[in-house]
Symmetry: C2
Subunit: 321 residues, 2 copies
């Protein structure tokens, strides 16, 4: 925590003021970086507005179609705010309006966008009292509501922007990583894969030789990002541990990957725990070709899907007004 | 392979010419990078001289005290040269003199220095016909003779210099990594730990959660090196998988690590498969203090030991004459 508390007078002065933000989708794992890497994208994003409220605690108003819980303890944004409020003086009340654009369960950090967006916006309202690391800590409580596990690989990039490494979660050690310009194609097949299910099917023991291959790849990916070496990034986007298990939950995963790479993508894989698939490309034209391939595969299966072509979002949550 | 073959005339012209090199010690694994990271040091190094010979094949002359095999197939340098010669025209002969300064079995890449030095020197004699990657490929045959396994985490830094990542061994993908200035303190307790034994005690299955912690650390270490972030390098020098098993073979390992860090070392651990221990420091003064702590621990145990204070060797094998 940094800075000082707001006096009652200051808070009174802020009543009625509200902060509007765009909280971006994020791609966790980044193929070989299970549980430790993630990046934010420009689109899609949730729209959220927060203000002080006369009512103590957290009041949540959903302005979207998803019928998410409004009881703060059961809402990911609410749980994140409640964690923050444990470190604030008593008697503060927040009113949070959420217009969710990132479909829950899509695998691009819908819950993280809510949790991170809420605490980033509240922190602005409070005069930037907390550090980014504090905000990650609070927002992870939202992830716990969503998936049962405190993880930060969506939260951290949502708050820091760009590509982030969570070197360690206990104690929290977040490392923002430089990245060269990258275009991102995402396809979200309209099937449900629950994060808890996607975690449940993973083996808790792995072969040492596979783990070695995996950490060779993550080391290569980090080096590729920091050295602007697109070819190395592409070669390192390989996952021998998680993808072979999880990809069975995603229709025609291998076909999409193969066709995307044939179209020029550097590589890619499952976004978070799926079902969305992301692919990275060096330029927009390639990313659009990849999008067409993704659409073609799911059109043939008569499977409803959404696609995005976007770039890495370097600033994370954006303040709109 | 690059370039063209030497003609008989050219080879005749080179007869009598010889190349002398210093082939450096290397530290493999670098704590969290088991089997994929390594770096070369300025000291110690082997001295080797190679020339063409009238006798076909490889003739090995040992000029040191270690009584290593002279039959090429059984000698790590010989095996590396034989692998190279499979890609040369018939009828070439090399005479190789080895003055080994890096004690075999010390854990600082003694076998790699021989294997890598031999092929780097022979390649110079041949007019740089092979790429560095070719040379790594040949030299790995020496490692197979020494430990039964083709590994490149000593070979690659010995040939490339600096810190190297072996992202993948099949296919071979070597990534040289920038590193900030680092001082290295090494202690070699005079006990024998065979590489094959040190490999044998490792569990072939590991917990996924431990593997995740390990790849968080290797990603942090690579980022720390490339960003010149000494604190991040220090935090990332943590090994939750291999060190807890292997360190039991090394007397007072934990004591040395603790005292080294208390003296200001960034961190460190087992060099290769041991028994040598290395520690990294930001400046020479700290590295010398660390050396004193290492000496004090083994003096108390009445255990013979050698120490070195050196820096990272950025060029690898050096041509002397």
């Amino acid at each position: 925590m940094k800075g000082t508390s707001l006096s009652g007078v200051e808070r009174d002065a802020l009543r009625g003021r509200s902060i509007t933000i765009h909280s971006p989708a994020t791609v966790a794992n980044m193929v070989c970086g299970f549980d430790v890497l993630g990046f934010a994208v420009q689109e899609p994003y949730d729209i959220m507005r927060i203000g002080f409220s006369e009512n103590k605690g957290v009041t949540i108003i959903n302005e979207d179609e998803y019928d998410l819980p409004t009881k703060p303890e059961d809402n990911v944004a609410g749980a994140a705010l409640l964690a923050m409020m444990e470190e604030l003086e008593e008697g503060i009340g927040f009113e949070l309006r959420i217009n969710k654009q990132i479909k829950p369960g899509s695998g691009v950090g819908s819950s993280a966008a809510s949790a991170a967006g809420a605490v980033v916006a509240a922190n602005r309202l409070l005069g930037e009292r907390f550090t980014k690391e504090d905000l990650v800590r609070f927002a992870m409580n939202g992830e716990k509501v969503a998936s049962g596990v405190k993880h930060a690989d969506n939260i951290a990039p949502c708050i820091y922007g760009g590509v982030t490494l969570i070197r360690s979660i206990f104690p929290l050690d977040i490392v923002p990583l430089h990245a060269p310009p990258l275009y991102v194609s995402i396809v979200h097949p309209q099937i449900e894969v629950r994060t808890s299910d996607a975690r449940g099917i993973l083996k808790q023991q792995v072969q040492l030789k596979d783990a070695i291959r995996q950490w060779g790849n993550i080391a290569g990916l980090v080096a590729g990002l920091l050295k602007n070496d697109y070819a190395l990034i592409g070669r390192s986007l390989e996952d021998v541990l998680i993808e072979p298990v999880r990809s069975i939950l995603i229709p025609d995963f291998e076909e999409i990957k193969k066709r995307s790479k044939d179209a020029g993508a550097l590589g890619g894989g499952i976004s978070g725990s799926g079902p969305s698939i992301f692919m990275l490309s060096k330029d927009e034209q390639t990313a659009r070709l990849v999008e067409q391939e993704m659409k073609a595969v799911y059109a043939r299966l008569l499977l409803d899907h959404h696609t995005y072509v976007t770039t890495i979002n370097m600033e994370g949550v954006k303040f709109i007004g």
